[in-house]
């Protein structure tokens, strides 16, 4: 018998799955080339879901449902809300692009996006190893299909195969790690795993063995060095609209899954995974930033930039362990959450401009394609510049506060290791500033390669302006979002 509370945790997911099917069916009757009807339906669905999640989140209660298999808490609900909005924005930006490239011959893109969002939701709220895994698979399978949506395009197909092979391997890693932990603890329930591990009566080697595989699997999904090889190729090869789909909202889900697995499940092993994360973070910052310098393709550059940004997210996650004090721990995780959210916001804006510059028969992929954008369209150049400064961590953009809060969580009085890591991270973000500035340079200092003005539909224009303004406004007034992340994490940790 499923109790009433269980249903509450699953309403948004149910709406998603029903609407995904309805939209797939309805799309058969849609004849317009840009599929306005199904597009509108999808956006409406996403808006309802986002509003529902926001309402749950602001209520702030924690429910466990379906025999503890899923959890609905403030952190999860906010992340789901943001993920739904991110997918919505992705669709707004991506629709004209997809339409010009024959990706809207059927309405699959909407259905697949809804299914991948459903996957993210399940990942975010899973409280059970298998549920998490199922969510992950639903997300990635939809994403593989999305990457391969331009099946006549060799590059996209190649990217899809790479993504599939490496993604399957990562899932395998994760599943293997989960099975080790299941073998050791005898349960798949995360709360029960936590209890079993913290009892201290299990063999440490087995747990660590499982942990290594879990961290490796998560590393793949977050895209951190040395599990990053798929990111540049997939980012570059996938149609840009799909790249945004992969690089945006799923980061929120990957973050939530990391929190569920490592913090809620395996916190007693924190000293072990902290060291692993530290290595991953250092390597990501180093390789992500250095490799990004050499890129001339902007999608590849952004791919390497993602890798380095995820390094910062990991720093926030590992910083929580060092202190041991509950408040400082909550601060650290919430700084990571703030980082991910602001990163996704900025990425949306960046790709939004990128998609705008791609016209029929022309892929805007090289950094040089941005040349003189300021003369062609000061508005979009401004949005892009704000996003670039934000990614570089220059105040007063939101990206600065993300870096600030992560560094603040990291630096502990009297701890030279954390201080050196902070200085290292700061040095790396200086290198990062170089390649982000280069994009600004190309837009503002170089002469335009074409005099054509940039045309955008009114929906794209409005959303892009709001997006760019948010990067700046959240930089001027970051307090609200910070408090939101902080409350959500504190509630999740039960402090």
């Amino acid at each position: 018998m499923i109790d009433k509370l269980s249903w509450i945790t699953a309403y948004p997911e149910m709406i998603l799955i029903v609407m995904a099917c309805v939209i797939a069916l309805m799309d058969l009757g849609v004849k317009t080339p840009l599929r306005g009807a199904t597009y509108g339906m999808t956006l409406a669905t996403l808006a309802v879901v986002a509003a529902l999640e926001a309402a749950y989140a602001s209520e702030g209660a924690t429910y466990y449902g379906f025999g503890n298999m899923v959890v609905s808490d403030a952190m999860g609900n906010w992340l789901k809300c943001f993920a739904a909005i991110a997918v919505m924005v992705t669709l707004v930006y991506g629709r004209p692009y997809a339409g010009q490239r024959g990706m809207l011959r059927g309405g699959e893109i909407f259905t697949l996006n809804l299914f991948s969002l459903l996957g993210m939701f399940v990942m975010i709220s899973g409280n059970n190893f298998l549920v998490l895994y199922l969510g992950l698979e639903l997300l990635t399978l939809s994403a593989y299909a999305l990457v391969a949506l331009r099946r006549d395009n060799a590059v996209a197909t190649e990217a899809a195969i790479k993504y599939f092979v490496l993604g399957a391997m990562a899932s395998g890693f994760l599943l293997y790690g989960m099975s080790m932990l299941y073998g050791a603890t005898g349960t798949l329930d995360i709360t029960a795993v936590f209890k079993a591990v913290s009892s201290g009566q299990l063999r440490h080697q087995v747990l660590i063995f499982g942990l290594v595989f879990i961290v490796a699997g998560l590393g793949f999904k977050l895209g951190v060095v040395p599990f990053h090889m798929w990111i540049p190729d997939v980012y570059q090869g996938a149609p840009t609209a799909v790249t945004l789909m992969i690089g945006g909202a799923p980061k929120l889900a990957a973050f939530a899954m990391t929190i569920r697995l490592l913090v809620e499940g395996l916190l007693p092993l924190a000293n072990d995974w902290q060291q692993m994360l530290m290595l991953l973070a250092i390597a990501s910052l180093l390789i992500g930033n250095l490799a990004a310098i050499g890129q001339t393709n902007i999608k590849r550059m952004l791919a390497f930039s993602t890798i380095s940004q995820m390094g910062f997210v990991l720093i926030g996650l590992l910083a929580g362990v060092v202190s041991g004090q509950p408040i400082a721990t909550a601060n650290a995780y919430s700084s990571s959450m703030f980082y991910v959210v602001s990163y996704v916001l900025t990425t949306l804006g960046t790709f939004g401009v990128l998609l705008l510059l791609s016209r029929e028969g022309f892929e805007s992929e090289e950094i040089a394609d941005f040349a003189g954008l300021n003369q062609r369209s000061p508005l979009y150049a401004g949005v892009m510049a704000v996003c670039m400064f934000s990614l570089a961590g220059i105040p007063p953009m939101v990206g600065f506060y993300a870096k600030l809060s992560v560094l603040q969580a990291l630096i502990m009085p009297g701890d030279t290791a954390s201080l050196s890591l902070a200085v290292f991270a700061v040095a790396m973000s200086l290198i990062g500033a170089f390649y982000y500035l280069r994009v600004v340079k190309v837009m503002y200092f170089d002469a335009p390669i074409t005099a054509s003005t940039v045309v955008a539909g009114s929906d794209v224009r409005v959303v892009l302006c709001i997006n760019g303004a948010l990067v700046l406004v959240l930089g001027l007034l970051p307090g609200g979002l910070m408090a939101l992340c902080s409350h959500a994490i504190q509630q999740m940790l039960g402090t």
Binding site: N374, Q375, P378, G382, F389, I394, P395, P396, F400, Y401, L404, S405, L407, Q408, I411, M412, P413, L419, A422, V423, V426, A427, S429, L430, A433, F434, L437, V440, K441, Y444, F445, L477, P478, G479, M482, A483, S486
Partner: protein
């Protein structure tokens, strides 16, 4: 809204309006909006002078409101005698620069003017901020408009200069960011400067913090040997950019020493004062000599800026009243004089499109009015009594003699180099027979240029003849700072 908030946000609001609504077709309207914005921004800073209590060392016009509560960052503004004049100076220079860019800038006028207005608001914010993080946000944010100003409207090698400017200064400030966060954790979660002033710190921590601040501020001043970005950037920057850079931006660094390094880490400041004095003297003497051999006028004035800023840091780190006040007076005077020098070069450059000294000669024959102004500013740059340049240098030298006779002597003898390179440039550019056909065809300055130079000339002479209003404002705060620095923070 408090007066300081108005002073900060008025130019920024005008700048944003210009960016949002202006376009290339409405260049004229953009200019006028910018002029009105700059004028209003300057006028609203004037009442500050009437209301400022010179007898008090406390912060005045204080505004304090929570900004980011999670980190206890406050929107905390205030002025004391140290920061007071820079607010007015910034607003004043901004007005002059807007007038200076009137005809020289023809493309993307609204963006040019908007960038300067926003920059001016941000720099006023730096001088007003009493919260460490607020200071940092303003301090860093100034990089963005300046980067764009250099990169869009700069000379042939502008991209190199823009990147060098941005990355060089960012490197220093990022280390300061780590220092600020360290202080935040040490003080149990506060970015308040006043809390940090009272925070006891160990010797190692003080040394590390001192060098983190040094990285940020010495690059900005710039002190020898991290001054190498300045000549490159000045040469490529548009005239207005150079003027603001020399007149205000360099002061952010020197101001940082007074607001952060000295009161927060007094023991380390004393310990490393010898190094600071040595670096300052090298800047004064060696960079002065370097200036002498420059072929490019802007480069010459850039090196002369480094030398003059050497006087400032020299005055600060001798820890006596007259030296420190002298350093501050020198900062203000240099703001007027270097701004004026760069604007003069801009006047010539707009006509001949060359900054090489060799391309000129006998300009006085064709531009007598302009040459008179140039002579005044050159004299002020040498530190001639009766001009603004004299007061600060003289006070620093007095402080130097008081501190150690030989340091005073070296500093005083460096004045000779200053006179040498400035006057030699003046002679080669303005005096003598008409050098070439370009000079022959020069037209004297128009009313707009006259207004802009007259404003600065008035300030230079007023400050030179009657510096009392400037020093009066500073005295109490400088005395208070010296008292603060004299108390050890080692338990």
């Amino acid at each position: 809204m408090g007066m300081l908030s108005l002073a900060i946000w008025t130019p920024i609001a005008f700048g944003v309006v210009l960016l949002a609504l202006g376009n290339d077709e409405q260049a004229k309207a953009s200019r006028w909006v910018a002029f009105i914005g700059a004028l209003v921004s300057f006028l609203i800073t004037l009442p500050l002078y009437g209301q400022f209590d010179t007898t008090s060392a406390a912060m005045q016009f204080v505004e304090n409101a929570p900004w980011i509560e999670r980190f206890h960052i406050n929107y905390h503004l205030g002025l004391d005698g140290i920061s007071f004049w820079f607010v007015l100076l910034t607003a004043f220079i901004n007005l002059v620069v807007v007038i200076a860019g009137w005809e020289a800038i023809t493309s993307r006028v609204n963006q040019y003017m908007g960038a300067f207005l926003i920059l001016s608001g941000l720099m006023i914010g730096v001088f007003c901020a009493l919260d460490g993080m607020l200071f940092y946000v303003f301090f860093e944010a100034t990089l963005i408009p300046m980067y764009l100003i250099i990169g869009i409207w700069g000379g042939p090698n502008k991209i190199y200069a823009a990147f060098k400017f941005f990355l060089y200064t960012l490197l220093g400030s990022l280390l300061m960011l780590v220092a600020l966060i360290y202080l935040y954790t040490q003080s149990n979660g506060s970015f308040e400067l006043s809390t940090w002033y009272a925070l006891p710190l160990g010797k190692t921590a003080q040394t590390l913090l001192f060098f983190a601040f040094f990285a940020a501020f010495a690059v900005k001043v710039p002190m020898w040997p991290v001054h190498t970005w300045l000549p490159d950037v000045h040469v490529e920057a548009p005239t207005g950019g150079s003027a603001v850079l020399a007149a205000i931006m360099l002061k952010l660094g020197a101001y940082g020493f007074l607001r952060f390094s000295m009161p927060i880490v007094p023991d380390a400041s004393h310990e490393w004062a010898g190094m600071m004095i040595a670096l300052s003297l090298i800047a004064v003497v060696y960079v002065g000599l370097v200036a002498m051999v420059q072929q490019d006028m802007k480069k010459l004035v850039a090196y002369s800026s480094v030398a003059h800023m050497g006087f400032v840091t020299l005055g600060f780190f001798m820890f006596n009243q007259i030296g420190m006040s002298g350093g501050l007076v020198q900062m203000i005077a240099h703001g007027f004089v270097s701004g004026a020098m760069f604007l003069c070069i801009g006047v010539l450059y707009d006509r001949v499109h060359s900054r090489q000294i060799a391309d000129y000669g006998g300009v006085v024959n064709t531009m007598p009015k302009f040459a008179a102004f140039a002579l005044l500013f050159s004299m002020a740059n040498c530190g001639l009594p009766g001009t603004a340049g004299f007061v600060g240098e003289w006070m620093v030298i007095l402080g130097g003699v008081k501190f150690n006779f030989w340091i005073g002597l070296i500093a005083a003898s460096a004045l000779i180099f200053g006179a040498a390179y400035t006057l030699w440039m003046f002679k080669r550019v303005y005096l003598g027979a008409i050098g070439n056909d370009h000079v022959k065809e020069l037209l004297d300055i128009n009313a707009r240029e006259f207004l802009m130079l007259a404003l600065l000339a008035g300030a230079v002479l007023y400050m030179g003849v009657y510096p009392k209003p400037f020093t009066d404002v500073m005295d109490a705060s400088v005395a208070q700072l010296l008292k603060q620095v004299a108390v050890s923070k080692l338990n």
